[in-house]
């Protein structure tokens, strides 16, 4: 099956810093989503981005499908950004099931 790798696995930032999270995948995809899992375990949708670039406030994401990677940018980080960020992909031809990466655990400190 498709492999999804995320880097870095862990990241500690001071409040106000910027960061880039990376997601590499091994095959073509129909769907790519970025999620934030908060400390209570809720998976929150950030972006649906199988290709191109999107922005939402301090967050933006870019997917280059032909090169099989996606990037999530967090600017001016806040303590509420802490948690685990997951990239999940839907492999072309596998009809809607998402394969998740192992996540990036982010801690934003004061």
């Amino acid at each position: 099956g498709i492999q999804v790798e995320q880097s870095p696995p862990d990241l500690i930032l001071q409040e106000g810093a910027n960061s880039t999270l990376r997601c590499n995948f091994s095959d073509s995809v129909n769907n790519l989503q970025w999620f934030h899992q908060n400390p209570w375990g809720q998976l929150i949708n950030l972006f649906y981005i199988p290709s191109g670039t999107k922005q939402n406030g301090r967050l933006s994401a870019t997917t280059v499908a032909t090169e099989r990677y996606s990037l999530l940018y967090i600017s001016s980080s806040q303590t509420t950004d802490s948690g685990v960020y997951f990239c999940a992909v839907e492999n072309t031809g596998t009809a809607s099931k998402l394969t998740f990466g192992t996540g990036t655990r982010l801690q934003v400190t004061l």
Partner: protein, 113 residues
């Protein structure tokens, strides 16, 4: 409108017992998914429904696991003869149609003693 809801939020059971986990998707969403998340891991796919039918159940670990969606809305995940290794967070998601954004519920934390 309301998001995906799951009940119960927590379930503690004894090895060998039967459990049912319920998922109420976003109104009007035709696609419904079950995933399982173990500690420190990303969610793993279990089963996907399009309407009432299971379109892909390739992620169910064995025949102790079964899921239904009889009216194309609410779904129940059923686990027979639970084992300690079944302990995990069971997540449900729904999407308006296949290959669209999936929205996740808060999960059911299952602990098998």
């Amino acid at each position: 409108g309301a998001g995906v809801s799951q009940t119960p939020s927590n379930k503690v059971t004894e090895k060998g017992k039967y459990v049912e986990l319920r998922c109420d998707p976003i109104s009007g969403h035709t696609a419904l998914y079950w995933y399982r998340q173990s500690l420190g891991q990303g969610p793993e796919f279990l089963i996907y429904f399009q309407g009432t039918g299971a379109a892909d159940d390739s992620g169910l670990p064995n025949d102790r696991f079964f899921a239904v969606r009889p009216e194309g809305s609410v779904s129940t995940l059923k686990i027979q003869r639970t084992e300690r290794g079944d302990s995990a967070v069971y997540l449900c998601a729904s999407s308006r149609n296949m290959q669209e954004t999936q929205y996740f519920g808060p999960g059911t934390r299952l602990l098998v003693l």
